[in-house]
């Protein structure tokens, strides 16, 4: 008897609930957009957040809704963008490919204080302004290297160095850096000024041997290629006539702050004595 009661009651209940859910699904039907799934399959799938959305799935939804264009994904190749645009029948749009560069040579210039707290840049930066004498330089504790989804950042000695051939320009590192020493520059530029401090030369010189002196020699010798942001020289990435390695020699910067990426990497390795810290 009990068995039959149980069977009947549960069977009826199951049927009723199933029927009700079935009716509700028809009644409250929402048009699903399968274009988002289509776009998701074609996206790089790195979930790097470089587009400003919460991962590729969110970006795909925005794509389907027409809020963004495929070109807003900074890490996708031109072919991928074209494929997405074709699949969704929309305009591809374009965004200039970028790359990150750590504008600092603290490894050969700045003094370091004794810090043995949590080995994370954001944590270290909270303790009395961070363990380097210069408040604008790289801390070298590797928060950027850990957050990089592409493994493009290496800590060489006491500073982070970006390997441009691996960098996709998603900008995660620039967002996590507490010192804002990582700059997003056009991907085709490979010569940069490796200093980030806006301080006066006298102050800077007492803290770091490698800081830009603000002498304006480069600006005079290479007009239109180097510009000044206050007291700090920066490469003019929008210049029609881009800076070349020959220009570096011509300018002969007194602190050798203008370098190609290759040279920067070599200098860092030399300073670290070939060993990692």
């Amino acid at each position: 008897m009990t068995l039959y009661t149980a069977l009947i009651v549960m069977g009826l209940l199951g049927l009723t609930l199933g029927a009700i859910i079935g009716v509700f699904v028809k009644l409250f039907k929402v048009e699903q957009d399968n274009r988002a799934e289509l776009a998701l399959e074609l996206l790089p799938g790195a979930n790097c957040g470089g587009c400003g959305k919460a991962g590729c799935a969110d970006f795909a939804r925005a794509l389907a809704a027409g809020e963004v264009m495929p070109g807003n994904c900074p890490v996708s190749s031109l072919e991928q963008r074209a494929a997405i645009a074709l699949a969704l029948e929309i305009d591809a749009g374009s965004v200039a490919r970028k790359q990150a560069v750590v504008c600092c040579r603290a490894d050969i210039g700045a003094e370091e204080m004794n810090y043995n707290g949590i080995q994370d840049c954001n944590a270290a930066n909270l303790v009395a302004g961070g363990p380097t004498t210069c408040r604008y330089g790289c801390l070298g504790l590797g928060s950027c290297a850990r957050v990089c989804p592409f493994g493009a950042i290496e800590i060489i000695g006491r500073v982070a160095v970006v390997h441009p051939e691996l960098c996709t320009g998603c900008g995660q590192c620039a967002r996590i850096c507490p010192r804002n020493v990582i700059k997003m520059v056009p991907a085709n530029a490979n010569i940069h000024v490796y200093c980030n401090s806006p301080e006066k030369a006298a102050v800077k010189r007492s803290l770091c041997k490698a800081g830009c002196l603000g002498c304006r020699k480069c600006e005079k010798l290479l007009p239109g290629k180097i510009k000044f942001d206050g007291l700090l020289a920066v490469v003019d990435y929008d210049a029609t006539d881009a800076i070349t390695p020959a220009d570096i020699e011509k300018c002969n910067c007194p602190v050798h702050g203008i370098m190609t990426e290759k040279e920067r990497c070599a200098v860092a390795r030399e300073a670290a004595g070939g060993k990692r810290v």
Partner: protein
């Protein structure tokens, strides 16, 4: 006074996660970030209150009835009935929310299916049925049990966010240190024992 006892008891003294050890799965699963923990908390409060209300109505009025002169008692089917009803209820709710309140659906939507058969939700329903509470009392108990769950989850996720920055020994990284933290939190909550 009775309601004060009911609510304080549900939130602090007999906290679902830290005293009764129910609903540990979402407690560990969605506590990595405060934002997702908030979404989950909202969904749990909502579902627990609703499920408590419906299930207590079932256990109070529908578990015993007479068919053709014979009394049918369905007490032994209680847990099965509860699971079925709660699951169907949440499913219906999800379908309706998606259509009627898309904003709320986006906030709670992905967490709702996760907690349909959560043991905290079923636990609240069973505890209500066993203590013979009225429908109103059950709903209040369910809602505040959800608040207790939310409190535990939010506390825990805030701690875990900080813990991400710390450097524990290699063997303790990730889940082990989270479990140790959960244990310490539970010990802290024993301080509320005997309050009511």
């Amino acid at each position: 006074m009775k309601y004060l006892e009911l609510t304080v008891g549900a939130v602090l003294v007999y906290n679902f996660v830290l005293s009764r050890f129910l609903g540990i799965c979402p407690f560990l699963g969605v506590s990595k970030r405060l934002s997702t923990a908030m979404g989950m908390s909202g969904a749990v409060i909502f579902v627990m209150a609703l499920a408590s209300c419906i299930t207590s109505a079932i256990s109070n009025y529908l578990l015993e009835f007479t068919v053709a002169g014979t009394v049918v008692k369905l007490d032994f089917l209680r847990i099965l009935l509860f699971i079925l009803v709660i699951a169907a209820l949440v499913q219906l709710l999800e379908i309706m929310m998606q259509k009627l309140t898309p904003a709320l659906y986006r906030a709670l939507g992905i967490y709702l299916p996760l907690i349909t058969t959560n043991c905290a939700v079923l636990g609240a329903a069973t505890i209500n049925a066993e203590s013979g509470r009225s429908v109103l009392d059950s709903t209040i108990f369910g809602a505040f049990s959800g608040v207790g769950f939310a409190l535990a989850l939010l506390l825990f996720s805030s701690i875990r966010e900080k813990l991400e920055l710390a450097a524990p020994p290699k063997a303790f990284e990730g889940t082990p240190i989270a479990l140790v933290t959960a244990g310490i939190l539970a010990m802290a909550f024993t301080g509320f024992a005997g309050l009511c």
